[in-house]
């Protein structure tokens, strides 16, 4: 138990360091800027995956609507960038200069009221966190207080993802419609498009990701994380012990939503556009599969899972576009049927014992057990 009192135990620290070396040293040195930007794009999804580990792996709340929060964060960022890109000088050929180009195409003549605060970067940064957290709180409070959970919750979050996508596509004048917000240029006067900006953004993103990993790790290690696991496995017993199950669930859901939103904002910065195709049902489910592949109980596993699935997706769809869907579908089924704890499970079941065997000769202390094993698989 002494291990649990600390934020990270030694093997976890080693794991985090290994990931840090990979992301901060190895990848930037070995990849060109184009590939590094791809990695940066994948890592935006890793934020969502880490959030899902807390929400789904530990809390047992499967959300199929993380794309909603990814999208809300991304759109908040994109609105700020778009406003900056459509300054009156840049848009003087429009019939109404100073408003985003898609509004002009849709015969809107003045900036809608909810766009106006996005002139301010401070407001935008607050909104990236606050808007998704508010939505997650409303959805979570409405559902969990009434003890809706499990499959019902999954279906309703999916419906919310569908609603938001249809709304964004339908309200073309206010949101840019199906094309989304394109042609984003500067962040507070700093051009985000050239190569060196991409590299700076990449390191900023990695720093944020580690921030999220540490927050997730803290939640997992604290008493709160223990309650989440207990709640997932025996909800009634936790409730009878006097805990408010609904509040803990709302909290876990909000944390996952905020992480997803930060990922979305990073996405808008890195990729330079935001569109409804990252909001809907299909991307939301893909985000769940990243977590499932990495291991739903392992924070670092989720990051590796995200990178792996996306690398596979890019390379497969470059060379065999026909086969990609078979591969992805097969991956879903294989992970669920054979490896419910994903990569992290394979690591702790097959690789770790071998490593232990090698290490045991040197140190008399018994090998460590992976935290995911100690936490146990979700109750069946």
């Amino acid at each position: 138990m002494s291990d649990n009192a600390r934020l990270v135990n030694r093997p976890e620290l080693l794991g985090i360091l290994a990931l840090a070396v990979l992301l901060v040293v190895i990848l930037p040195l070995s990849l060109d800027v184009f590939r590094l930007n791809l990695v940066a794009k994948y890592l935006t999804y890793a934020f969502v995956a880490v959030g899902l580990v807390i929400c789904w792996g530990y809390g047992g709340i499967l959300s199929l609507g993380q794309g909603v929060f990814f999208g809300l964060g991304g759109y908040c960022m994109a609105m700020f960038l778009k406003l900056e890109a459509s300054s009156p000088e840049n848009t003087k050929i429009q019939s109404t200069p100073g408003i985003p180009d898609f509004m002009d195409w849709n015969q809107i003549t003045s900036l809608p009221f909810f766009w106006k605060p996005f002139h301010s970067l401070t407001f935008t940064v607050i909104a990236i966190i606050a808007v998704p957290a508010f939505f997650a709180f409303v959805i979570g409070a409405a559902m969990f207080k009434r003890r809706v959970g499990g499959t019902y919750f999954a279906i309703i979050t999916q419906a919310v993802a569908a609603i938001l996508t249809i709304l964004i596509v339908g309200q073309q004048g206010y949101t840019g419609g199906i094309n989304g917000m394109t042609d984003l240029r500067t962040l507070n006067g700093w051009d985000i498009r050239p190569d060196h900006a991409k590299i700076v953004l990449y390191f900023f993103e990695v720093a944020c990701l580690f921030g999220c990993i540490f927050i997730a790790q803290f939640i997992r290690r604290s008493k709160l994380g223990r309650i989440l696991v207990a709640m997932r496995d025996k909800e009634d017993r936790v409730r009878f012990s006097g805990y408010s199950v609904a509040n803990f669930k709302i909290f876990a859901f909000c944390v996952a939503a905020i992480f997803a939103a930060i990922g979305g904002a990073m996405f808008a910065l890195q990729v330079g556009f935001m569109s409804p195709s990252f909001v809907g049902i299909v991307p939301s489910i893909e985000m769940v599969i990243y977590t499932a592949v990495g291991g739903r109980l392992s924070i670092l596993g989720a990051v590796y899972g995200t990178l792996l699935v996306n690398f596979a997706k890019t390379s497969f769809s470059e060379s065999f576009p026909e086969l990609w869907l078979f591969g992805l579908g097969g991956l879903f089924i294989a992970v669920v049927l054979a490896f419910p704890n994903g990569l992290a499970g394979i690591w702790s079941d097959y690789v770790q014992p071998q490593v232990d065997k090698l290490l045991r000769k040197k140190s008399p202390k018994n090998g460590w057990t992976d935290a995911s094993v100690a936490d146990g698989a979700p109750a069946e």
């Binding site: 499990g150 279906i155 309703i156 419906a159 596509v169 599969i289 089924i333 049927l337």
Partner: protein, 308 residues
């Protein structure tokens, strides 16, 4: 928004839109019946349900092409053959899937969702490889074309009436199977208490397999009906899956009456609103209303009391 129409116009609009809604209602009911059986009775979330429907649609398309080239004299009756074939094809695939995949996951309902989503991706790509990515449409026989004039401003298409009659028949058949037959009694026993049902000698595994097959088979028939109102492409099943799930959840998962009532409400609401605003806003409002109501009444309209 009603201001610019007279009372008579409004009546005609509501009648026409209501009828258009009835066709949507038929597809919803057929889709949702299969899903309600699988989800309500077995607790399995079948995200590949839309793909089972599309399999039925492709079978219908193949049958119609076969009749056109080889048996043109019997073309007017091809639809009935197609329906039976669609039922058999989707049902057989369903039983295969249950045996290979679903049966290992009964204790993890959330995982069935991910696994069947993977299955749906595989099926979509299979359809794309086999039938091509383009949409295909079937040719209707002569007697199903045209429309019936009721008053000067109201006319209803014949294939719509046909689809509705079909839905009615299938719904009655399913109700009979579930509530009157010996097998249906076994299914309901398994739903209410799996362990006890097994203890009194019901082969629960076989019941599960047939139930899943029946649900998928009905989706196949839904696919046949679908060919009349839309064109079939590898991904068109996916568009309906969330709507159908909402229909099932809104109606109360284990209740067939609830499924029908909620399919009716949702399709009518959407179809009527579509006349007065854009299709996307109508859809958003409908979905929002459903989600709102579900938040107030999570167990759905008609809930069956089951001891958990």
């Amino acid at each position: 928004m009603f201001g610019e129409y007279s009372i008579g116009d409004l009546g005609a609009i509501f009648a026409m839109q209501g009828f258009a809604g009835l066709i949507l209602f038929s597809v919803y009911v057929l889709m949702a019946l299969g899903l309600a059986i699988i989800f309500g009775q077995m607790g399995v979330i079948n995200m590949a349900h839309g793909e089972f429907m599309i399999l039925g649609a492709y079978v219908t398309w193949l049958t119609s092409s076969y009749f056109q080239t080889h048996l043109p004299s019997l073309f007017s009756g091809y639809f009935f053959v197609a329906m039976i074939l669609a039922f058999i094809a989707s049902g057989a695939l369903g039983m295969l899937v249950e045996w290979a995949l679903i049966r290992h996951l009964y204790k993890r309902p959330l995982d069935t969702l991910l696994a069947t989503w993977g299955l749906s991706l595989i099926l979509q790509q299979t359809y794309r490889s086999v039938f091509g990515a383009r949409e295909v449409g079937v040719e209707l026989p002569q007697w199903m074309m045209g429309s019936q004039q009721i008053t000067d401003s109201i006319e209803v298409p014949i294939n719509g009436i046909f689809v509705m009659c079909l839905t009615l028949l299938i719904t009655m058949a399913v109700a009979y199977i579930m509530y009157k037959s010996r097998w249906g009694r076994q299914v309901r026993a398994v739903v209410q208490n799996r362990v006890m049902a097994g203890a009194v000698g019901i082969n629960t595994e076989r019941v599960d397999c047939y139930t899943f097959g029946l649900g998928c088979g009905i989706a196949g028939i839904a696919g046949s009906a679908f060919t009349m109102i839309g064109s079939t492409s590898p991904t068109s099943g996916q568009l309906y899956i969330v709507d159908t799930f909402l229909v099932v959840v809104f109606g109360g998962a284990a209740s067939l009456v609830g499924t029908i009532a909620s399919a009716f409400t949702i399709s009518q609401a959407q179809s009527t609103m579509e006349f007065f605003m854009s299709g996307s806003m109508a859809k958003v409002l409908t979905l929002l209303a459903i989600v709102g109501i579900l938040m107030l009444r999570p167990q759905g309209l008609f809930a069956l009391k089951v001891r958990k």
